[in-house]
Amino acid sequence: MSARDFIYLCPFLVPLAGALAVLMLDGVNRKKDDYWSLGVIAFVMSLGTGAWFLSYGWAVGSPVQVFSALRLDGLAVFAGVMVSFCTAVVALLCHEYLRRENIPPGAFYSLLLIAAHGLILLAACTDWIAFFVCLEIASVPLYILSGVEKRHHASREAALKFFLLGAVAGALVLYGIAFIFGATGTTAMRPDGPLSPQWALSPHRRAPALAGLCFRWAWRPCTSGRPIPSRVRPPRSSPSSLPPARWASSSRSCACSAAFCPAAAPVRRFFLVTLLYWIALISMIFGNVMAVVQTQIKRISSPTPAASRTAVTCVAATVVLAGRAATAPAPPSYIAAYCMMTLAAFPVLVALGRQGDRDMAQYTGLFERQPGLPSFTCSPCFP
């Protein structure tokens, strides 16, 4: 723990400071409908966070480990800039909406900033404990924000359903983390050490770790392949030389690396690659067929992303398992293009939604009517 760590930690804390400032100002302000000043605070804090991360992106070349749970690397800077600027835009644009729906601005802006704080931290985590905490820091304000429109029953219902699904997903993630912790013996996301034969020979123990690694691969593609200096440990003794009762202490090695190490059995690897290949293929076909037969935008938007994520995760694992390092950048590139296209599609849907378009049939001939909107959606693919 040094002063340098605190300096690098500062941009992560700016949204939280903004949320506290909004809450304090909302508490002391006699005008309870002072949307403008609170919005300006949220906007300035978000913009400042984005600018700070942007300056780090230019100034700091190599990844920096902040304490032992965060890592300021390319993905963290990208997520920080992206989330901060999106939060700033939301803070700027929702002023009239809050006034119209009579939503308390202090609660709204502070929850918005806390959620942004959690999302920024989430992208920088290198420890499973921090990962889970940041996930909840981001999720809990979003549960409340879903139900912030007190007058509308749909808003409360959305909040409850979002909460239930989020809580179940959180429990599943935690169970996966438990098995990764069991496989590695540490809560660090990048453990090291020799390979344990017990873990290498038990596929049922390797599977959760593989899922965890795929999950991480999908989320943090920019940091793969780089060692973390603070996590480097001295080499350990061979697990076979230890007594059986202490097998667990010798299995601090990574079950993830057990799945991908050259010593893994080729036959088992072949079956794993084939299985993942078929899962990717079936999920892609299923998701696209489900999307094609839908007639409403809100229905088409659910199966396609789910299928795409499953397929990309399986393809990523397949590429790594097959040992084709040259094709490894393909899945992260696809994820980046997919995210950019999704982000670009939302303004188009919002713009069309204001005109009352809901059914897919009403989008027929959209390119002829408004050529700019579909072009805008596809524009992120060109770079």
């Binding site: 404990i129 007190k150 749909a154 409360r156 219902e157 959305a158 959180g170 429990a171 540490t186």
Partner: protein, 101 residues
Amino acid sequence: MGPTLDQMLVLSAALFGIGMIGTIVRRSTIAVFMSIELMLNAANLAILAFGRAHGVMEGGILVFVVMTVAAVEVGVGLAILVALFYFRDSTNLDEIDQLKG
């Protein structure tokens, strides 16, 4: 001589399965909340078992954090449920169907 790692993992898996089934099958929101808590506690049990087997403290710390976060989450969830109950007068998930479609 306490329970072995395998015994604790079997118990954890059983609890997690019961929680998952309860989440899917039960219609009362309160029962679903309880099932989710059961799933979280099953994960906690697995973490503690692995932490004990490895002889490290990180498992205990993770469980402590998870329990705190779960308490916060349940508080928020119950607040949402109370807000919903105030207007609906029911906690049956089948009746909360305005967003269906």
